[in-house]
């Protein structure tokens, strides 16, 4: 973790970025939105390797987690966490590399896109099986505690659908038993792929589960980035203070299909036009404008566009993975084994 240089990555900008979390939120969200818009158009142009799953409409909730974490913390992002990743310090170019299949990407073309991670930066590479990252993140935290590190937090996210997995349940329960500083942010966007909440669970609010796990619960309007920052920030703070696992449930909608192959037409129109269907980017832009930061916002947006275009251009010239250069080894032990057998 020692090599992570979050600050350099997040804001090349003023040291003000260090002080104002809403600026960091804004920049992370803008960079995520601009990048994902670009990825969507590259997808339509057939230039993306693999599927494209976007966080559109969920940037506020996601970014809040990334921004609330600091060096030495650990983030286990899920499929809609571009903003959280960028907020935590994942280099934007790594994301582009993953999607364009560059060999220089964090997984070298072996795994891609949403699965990218970088253990040296404290970003866990998700596996697809929903719920699985909860216990893995708990394991990282347990290890840190055993190594006598102090003041660290781990954060992972989940959708409303992922809460139905046994893995989610076991993971959160184990974390609670061990009183680990784990924050689980549930983005309740009303649907798991096409499946609405009422086919996913029967409780009124997923927050009702917190008590049953013996963890602290926090609800938030996921379309309101300032509220997200406040609530997720508080949850991270509580975890850092030693209050054990925190369950945050943000209500929002995803403003896109499940993936870019999906038109999302099944999403209830009434819900879409309700407050839950607000675009958090617009909400934040207005919030920032009302704080007199409208010009900064525009500049950040422009910077994000330049950064994204630059990254895409750069990555487009990078080499692709080459099967003949691959060493096709799934284990690290071959070398060791040879040593033993020769010795």
């Amino acid at each position: 973790m020692a090599t992570r240089t979050m600050d350099r990555e997040v804001g090349k900008a003023s040291s003000q970025a260090e002080q104002d979390p809403m600026e960091r939120m804004s920049r992370a969200m803008l960079r995520a939105r601009v990048l994902e818009d670009k990825l969507a158009s590259l997808y339509r142009a057939g230039r993306i390797v693999g599927g494209v799953y976007l966080g559109r409409g969920q940037e506020g909730l996601s970014a809040a987690g990334g921004v609330a974490l600091r060096k030495g913390d650990v983030l286990a992002p899920l499929i809609r966490d571009m903003a959280g990743r960028l907020g935590f310090g994942e280099p934007l170019v790594d994301a582009v590399r993953a999607y364009l299949g560059s060999k220089l990407g964090p997984m070298k073309g072996r795994d891609g896109n949403i699965h990218r991670g970088d253990l040296s930066r404290g970003i866990l590479p998700m596996i697809s099986h929903l719920g699985a990252m909860v216990s893995a993140t708990a394991g990282v935290l347990l290890a840190k505690r055993m190594k006598k590190e102090k003041g660290f937090v781990g954060l992972t996210s989940a959708g409303d659908g992922a809460t139905s997995t046994g893995s989610f349940h076991e993971g959160l329960n184990v974390a609670a038993v061990e009183k680990l500083p784990l924050v689980v942010v549930v983005a309740d966007n009303g649907y798991a792929y096409s499946t609405p909440n009422d086919r996913q669970f029967a409780c009124t609010d997923l927050l009702d589960r917190a008590k049953g796990y013996g963890v602290e619960g926090h609800g938030v309007d996921g379309t309101d980035p300032e509220a997200c920052w406040e609530v997720v920030g508080r949850a991270v703070q509580r975890a850092r203070e030693g209050a054990g696992p925190q369950l945050v449930v943000g209500r929002l909608l995803r403003l896109c299909g499940h993936g870019e192959h999906d038109d999302g037409l099944y999403i209830d129109k009434k819900m879409k036009s309700s407050d839950r269907g607000r675009d958090c980017m617009e909400v934040l832009r207005d919030q920032m404008k009302s704080r007199g930061l409208g010009k900064d916002w525009d500049r950040w947006e422009k910077e994000a566009q330049e950064e994204v275009e630059g990254a895409v251009k750069k990555v487009a010239e990078e080499p692709l993975p080459d099967p003949f250069e691959e060493d096709w080894r799934a284990t690290a032990m071959v070398g060791a084994a040879e040593a033993v057998q020769k010795g």
């Binding site: 390797v49 795994d111 891609g112």
Partner: protein, 321 residues
């Protein structure tokens, strides 16, 4: 008019729902949405209450099907991807598969697994899990390679008194086409000689049958006649048909898209070596994917899986002996 492999799977489910009131479908997004691959498109509308969206709970999905099957229904469970069936595996291996042995009562259910690699789908959306299911007693494991088999075998699977793991290949879903749905079927549990030949036997299943056929074409150009045996069902395995082919050719290559340790190719080669030792004029060989997770990037992926080119190379080696 033409029918795709996926159409056939949809049509078989439709027919089963029509013919047998005890059939129902359960899976993530299978209802109004019609499933991630649209294998259940329009079925929820046509059969209200019988095509049911499940939560993301693979263990409970299979467990629920086991209970329903014990109670006389014939559930068809769709996994969104085969790879996710690992989290429902216990209910299949230890519950569904042990029920008949333990109680003498059948547990008729089908687990549909969208299986196999496609470009860009990576380590967790590409797996072929037939070997895992086939190792445990109590399950039938089907791996149809053709549109006709996709249809008739799925109907057979649903009608069967035992739990069946039905491995569909995603790469065949849209591209593989037939003129129409079949009126007749190859007998259950029988392998099929997909292409006759006298020089070498290539045993394959699922998408690999098509790679093997392409390889056979290539070798035909070089004067070798490859007999391609499509296993169709990998458990039980139709050893007779394989041995009969090897008796003709004296040479064997077994191909599997899954990983090299264990699996169908090992089972085939070891049965032939044991039971057909004297039929062999050359060492039997296997060809599988490489022993790493399935790569996401197509450049790596196409080098990871057996392809017509690699199969042709392996066949040449078997012939060269």
């Amino acid at each position: 008019m033409s029918v795709t492999y996926l159409d056939a799977i949809r049509a078989a489910q439709e027919k089963a729902l029509e013919d047998d009131p005890s059939v129902f479908i359960y899976g993530q997004d299978v209802g109004k949405f019609g499933g991630a691959f649209k294998a259940t498109k329009n079925l929820a509308e046509k059969f209200p209450g019988r095509v049911i969206d499940s939560p993301i709970s693979e263990d409970a999905m299979v467990g629920l099907a086991v209970g329903a099957a014990m109670e006389g229904m014939r559930p068809v469970v769709e996994m969104q991807f085969a790879d996710f069936s690992t989290v429902g595996l216990n209910q299949m291996l230890n519950h569904a598969a042990t029920t008949y042995w333990r109680t003498g009562r059948p547990c008729p259910m089908v687990l549909r697994l969208p299986s196999g690699g496609t470009p860009g789908s990576g380590p967790f959306h590409s797996q072929s899990m037939e070997a895992i299911y086939a190792h445990y007693p109590g399950l039938v494991v089907m791996t149809p390679a053709t549109v006709e088999d996709a249809y008739s075998m799925l109907l057979e699977a649903i009608a069967m008194p035992d739990p069946v793991v039905f491995c569909e290949h995603k790469l065949l879903y849209y591209h593989l086409k037939a003129k129409s749905l079949p009126a007749e079927a190859v007998p259950a549990f029988k392998a099929h000689v997909a292409r006759p030949g006298r020089d070498v036997t290539c045993v394959a299943y699922s998408a690999m049958v098509h790679e093997a056929l392409a390889a056979a074409d290539e070798l035909a150009g070089e004067g070798y006649e490859t007999e391609v045996v499509d296993l169709r069902t990998v458990k039980p395995l139709d050893t007779d048909t394989i041995l009969a082919s090897v008796a003709r050719t004296g040479r064997l290559l077994a191909v599997g898209e899954s990983w090299p340790w264990g699996g169908v190719s090992a089972e085939v080669v070891s049965r032939v070596a044991s039971e057909g030792f004297e039929l062999l004029d050359a060492p039997p060989r296997r060809l599988n994917a490489k022993d790493t997770p399935i790569p996401y990037h197509p450049n790596l992926w196409s080098a990871h899986r057996p392809t017509a080119v690699r199969i042709a190379e392996a066949l040449r080696e078997v012939l060269r002996y």
